[in-house]
């Protein structure tokens, strides 16, 4: 399995998609900060009023928009809570896994590895490593942009960063495994892309949540990947906050097992 991981990491370093997807996240962060600077910072508001983007009344109202917001909340709001991170990272995972099937290189791999779990394991580890790098670098970039925009929001506690990043990594890695399952099932970039965008952006979960909520059973979906990412705790206050790890681990195991079974049953 570690040979497969070495192979995957070699390809990750040489694939453009990993850099393009990360670039999209960074661009979104810069845009978000730019917009907030125009709305909430005095110099930005001046510019916004001058170009007709805001009226003086609107500028006065939006001045308090960043009240109680720290850099961790900003980081979450930028991409993670709305599902943009999941969708973008999911698209990369989809491109990475589907490339094996669409190029036919999977035949070279499976001719060597009868045990299909090795393949699933290596893909999950690769997704986990890239996810870790994405999250950490994205957070560092967010802090840097915050500084460049004149420290719009204060830093959060280090412990809060660690707590949030660890469970977010867990849950987004579980989402990556769901994407791997989609790719193994469909073996199609088009189908995979549609699936990733629908699942990552909450376009499936949110309507379902509303429908189920009419029967007072919607709360179960609060433990879905999308809603956990959107509503999960930003800081550790009590042991019940740890349920996010259970959500991540549960989905990670569930999707890994299903992916392995699907791959074992299918011919290449």
């Amino acid at each position: 399995m570690f040979n497969l991981l070495r192979m995957d990491l070699y390809r990750v370093r040489r694939s453009k998609s990993v850099y393009i997807c990360f670039g999209i996240l960074l661009a979104a962060t810069v845009s978000f900060f730019g917009l907030l600077w125009l709305m909430a910072m005095p110099k930005g508001q001046e510019l916004a009023i001058r170009i007709g983007m805001l009226t003086a009344e609107e500028a006065a109202e939006s001045a308090s928009i960043l009240k109680g917001v720290d850099s961790l909340v900003m980081f979450r709001q930028t991409c993670l809570d709305g599902g943009m991170y999941s969708a973008t990272f999911g698209v990369w995972v989809m491109l990475f896994v589907c490339a094996d099937f669409q190029s036919g290189f999977i035949k070279n791999i499976m001719a060597l590895y009868q045990n299909r779990w090795y393949y699933v394991g290596s893909k999950i580890m690769t997704a986990g490593i890239v996810n870790f790098c994405y999250l950490i670098l994205h957070l560092l970039f967010t802090l840097l942009v915050n500084r460049l925009f004149g420290n719009m929001v204060p830093y959060a506690d280090l412990g809060d960063y660690v707590f949030y990043m660890s469970w977010a990594w867990f849950v987004t890695t579980a989402f990556a495994v769901l994407v791997i399952l989609l790719c193994v099932l469909t073996r199609s970039t088009a189908a995979g892309a549609i699936g990733v965008v629908l699942l990552g952006s909450g376009a499936v979960v949110m309507p379902l949540y509303r429908i189920l909520d009419m029967f007072h059973i919607g709360s179960w979906l609060k433990h879905s990947i999308y809603l956990t990412l959107a509503m999960g705790p930003g800081e550790y206050t009590a042991w019940k906050d740890l349920h996010v790890y259970a959500v991540g681990a549960g989905f990670l195991i569930l999707y890994t097992v299903v992916t392995g079974i699907v791959l074992r049953r299918q011919d290449i």
Partner: protein
């Protein structure tokens, strides 16, 4: 006391004989069903070590499905596969296989060398020197930074063969490796396969270019509608590809009857609407004369030798009755 040279020769012969008695591939009642349709039915394929086994069949006959099962890419519905005497699931056995199934599986945005390094890492090879050596052997060393998506079909096939050769496998399974190759590429691949055969490797190769296959194969297997209808050696094939005398006549029915009456020892068959094939004819002129005396116009006549293609087509028509 025998000389040292004779001893070595004897040992070599013993090793060769030993190898020939062991099977590189042995399947028993190998079957693959897709829903209720059998793609491969009870195939008992036997390939001895050191053979070049030509696997022949029409499109959809079950060749690729059989080869996929041998490589572990498809699960058999029934039957058994043994490679070098061990089950196909044995990881050690799979390392002795080099495979090229259908189109070469390549990452289009990577170079030839990067694709090779990928496979090398997948196999756990640490020495990248073998990558360059195989690229040289397959004529791809000078492709440099050119991406695979810019390769011609032939170059992709050669890279597919190069990937199969990584790790110095004992057996190569090549499914249509000649596809897309130009005549020079075909000749180079033929020479490569023969060289590998000389090194003692077993090769199982399927191709529709039967002329090429007949130049290299030591054994043949013919598959039809999922059934292996024949397995023969090159010598047996040559024996069966007997000479025949073919005549093209105006009135096939009358000519056929006349030949059967005048030459009862000759076996005759109508090959198409205007031709008759005659097996066992010794004197063609005598036969022509007899037909002309009976006012049958003979447009063409001559002796022919059946090649692999004709033999294959003949078997396809006849099917199991020839087994």
């Amino acid at each position: 006391m025998p000389a040292a040279g004779e001893c070595r020769k004897g040992e070599k012969e013993a090793v060769r004989t030993g190898r020939e008695n062991t099977f590189a591939i042995e399947t028993a009642a190998l079957t693959k069903m897709y829903r209720n349709k059998a793609a491969v039915k009870n195939v008992d394929l036997k390939v001895r070590e050191g053979e070049i086994y030509g696997f022949i069949g029409r499109n959809g006959a079950g060749k690729s499905t059989t080869l996929k099962m041998l490589c572990g890419l498809a699960s058999p519905t029934g039957g058994e596969i043994q490679l070098f005497g061990k089950p196909v699931s044995d990881p050690a056995v799979r390392r002795r296989l080099g495979v090229l199934i259908e189109a070469a599986g390549l990452y289009p945005h990577m170079t030839a060398r990067q694709n090779m390094v990928m496979k090398a890492r997948c196999m756990g090879l640490t020495d990248e020197g073998s990558v360059d050596e195989i690229l040289r052997l397959t004529g791809l060393r000078d492709t440099g930074r050119k991406k695979v998506k810019q390769f011609s079909m032939g170059m992709k096939q050669r890279l597919g063969v190069a990937l199969a050769l990584l790790g110095n496998p004992d057996m190569l399974i090549l499914d249509e490796p000649l596809n897309g190759l130009d005549p020079e590429g075909i000749r180079e691949l033929r020479q490569l396969v023969l060289k590998l055969h000389e090194e003692g490797k077993t090769v199982l190769i399927s191709s529709h270019i039967l002329g090429e296959l007949s130049k290299i194969s030591t054994n043949y297997g013919i598959i039809k509608d999922g059934e292996l209808i024949e397995q023969i050696t090159r010598d047996e094939l040559e024996e069966r590809c007997q000479d025949y005398f073919q005549i093209q006549v105006q009135d096939v029915r009358r000519a056929f009857a006349l030949v059967q009456e005048a030459f009862p020892e000759v076996q005759a068959e109508v090959s198409d609407s205007g031709s008759i094939r005659l097996y066992g004819v010794k004197d063609g002129a005598e036969l022509n004369q007899m037909l002309m005396e009976n006012q049958i116009a003979v447009y063409a006549s001559g002796f022919h030798r059946m090649d692999l293609e004709e033999y294959f087509l003949d078997r396809m028509e006849g099917g199991r009755q020839y087994v």
